[in-house]
């Protein structure tokens, strides 16, 4: 019944199914309903996110490098990502000798699951959220840790030393960067007094100076560093350049997914974009007012109060901006060395994060 409460749509589906078969809705129907909803979400959310992300990345990278980027499949190369997906599906799925078969096969699914499960708590628009968990932020951070498990499984089970090294880097990096990421996420949570992303977003309702990044001017001294911190640590948690150490292709060939081929490789490839997108979304919900527009039209009493399309538009704009900035950054910066990644985490970001937390606590008390 928990599932039914969390996703009303699946509850309706379960009741409908049970009615169809002339039975009382029980947990089995709820589970089937939830699965169906999940499948639909996978189809309508995951595919555009993954494929759109891949396309945007390749196109933008191309243009930044004075190239054209994909432009052959479909208009402006829009179908390139689809073609790649089909290619990956058609490729042979290789399980090399010496691999730990169950782990090797399961790891991509775990990574995929962890990356896309984060979408559950994203407040896309007023009222449009899969599950408004009270601990939404906490849940989101926990999922990042879950992805690490999948990657370690992949690295270990590949029976390849480069993969193992990549997995070890992943553990060292992501586990470390959860600290600054958590600290930075604490600041808005502290200000808004809630861990629910919807509550934090609604706390920022109103014109632009209500956004936590620059709330009433003086909050900026704590929130601007916290935002940069969240962004940087987010890059590291999503393994994006300059923190793409686990798969650093010039050092570890392809890191943890060296041995993967076909759709299993795709299962590692798409979550990267899902992770980028969900981190951008959380960052925009935490600091940039989420689905609220800068003029305050969506605030209580505003012209578009509760209009889901207006909220979605602004959420989409903010998230896309952050998403694109991650891509631009990737194609500008060289890669950091592994010990410097650790240095950056523990000696730069962590102190800044603690400072931000103390500062926002003080502001909360004073303001």
């Amino acid at each position: 019944m928990i599932l039914a409460e969390a996703t009303p749509l699946s509850h309706h589906l379960a009741t409908w199914l049970a009615g169809l078969l002339g039975m009382q809705p029980n947990w089995l129907f709820s589970a089937v309903g939830a699965l169906l909803v999940a499948t639909v979400i996978l189809l309508i959310v995951v595919t555009p996110v993954g494929l759109g992300g891949v396309y945007l990345e390749r196109k933008l990278a191309g243009r930044m490098q004075n190239r054209r980027g994909p432009n052959r499949v479909g208009p402006y190369g829009l179908l390139q990502a689809v073609a790649d997906g089909v290619k990956l599906l058609a490729k042979e799925d290789i399980l090399q000798r010496g691999a730990d078969s169950p782990l090797f096969r399961f790891a991509p699914y775990l990574v995929f699951l962890a990356a896309f499960a984060g979408f559950v708590v994203l407040p896309f628009a007023p009222g449009v959220i899969a599950a408004d968990l009270d601990v939404g932020l906490f849940y989101f951070l926990a999922l990042i840790a879950l992805e690490t498990v999948g990657i370690v499984m992949a690295g270990w089970s590949s029976n390849n030393k480069w993969s193992l090294l990549g997995a070890m880097r992943e553990v060292a990096q992501v586990v470390s960067y959860e600290l600054p990421l958590g600290l930075a996420a604490m600041c808005p949570a502290l200000a808004a007094g809630s861990l629910s992303l919807v509550a934090i977003t609604d706390y920022q309702a109103g014109p632009i100076w209500n956004w936590l990044l620059i709330r009433h001017g003086y909050w900026a001294i704590a929130m601007v560093p916290a935002f940069l911190l969240f962004y940087t640590a987010g890059l590291a948690a999503a393994k994006r350049a300059p923190f793409d150490l686990p798969e650093a292709e010039s050092e570890l060939t392809a890191g943890f997914h060296t041995e993967y081929s076909g759709m299993r490789f795709g299962m590692f490839f798409l979550p990267e974009y899902a992770m980028m997108l969900s981190l951008s979304a959380v960052a925009s919900a935490l600091f940039l007012g989420g689905y609220h527009d800068p003029l305050g039209l969506s605030a209580p009493g505003g012209a578009f109060e509760g209009a889901w399309w207006w909220g979605f538009l602004w959420f989409f704009l903010k998230t896309t901006f952050l998403f694109l900035s991650q891509i631009v950054l990737r194609w500008t910066l060289p890669r950091i060395r592994i010990d410097q990644v650790m240095y950056l985490c523990y000696k730069v970001l962590l102190p800044i994060g603690m400072g931000c937390l103390v500062l926002s606590a003080a502001l909360r008390l004073l303001g």
Binding site: L60, G62, R63, M64, Q65, N66, R67, R68, N71, V328, L329, W331, T332, L333, K347, V348
Partner: protein, 158 residues
Amino acid sequence: MKALALWVNRVWMGLKTTWIGLTITVPYIFRRPYTLQYPEEVPEIPPTERGLHVFEIDKCIACDQCAKICPVDCITIEAEGKGKTARIRTFEIDYSKCLFCALCCEPCPTECIHMGPQFDLVGYTRDEVIIDYADRENPRCFSEGEKIPYEIAPFARK
């Protein structure tokens, strides 16, 4: 205190050089791409290009000079008759061996073999890249009176 100043400087330099990098790369998004769309747009091929050979079959006297100088022995010539009246039967160039060094063009007494502008040749088997230039159907084999449709620069030294 000094260590703190160094720390602040490092953080600042990190942010600053990242910003400088972005000011270089981001404007490129709005500029014209440099690349060519290859099969449709072909780069300008200079007349000196050492591409696939161009052969003027009626000038050839089958003297075998080109085959002799070839460092990889990729030219096979078979001819009927001898001397100035010789007529060529096969003139095969094995492009799986060819170095494109243009040494074969230099000793030719009648200047019948040149390096042309075509730079691509594909085949599914090795036999497909052995090309017979004595075959008058070959687009790069020119009979007497046919005009070679592109400019071919001569060597400074013959």
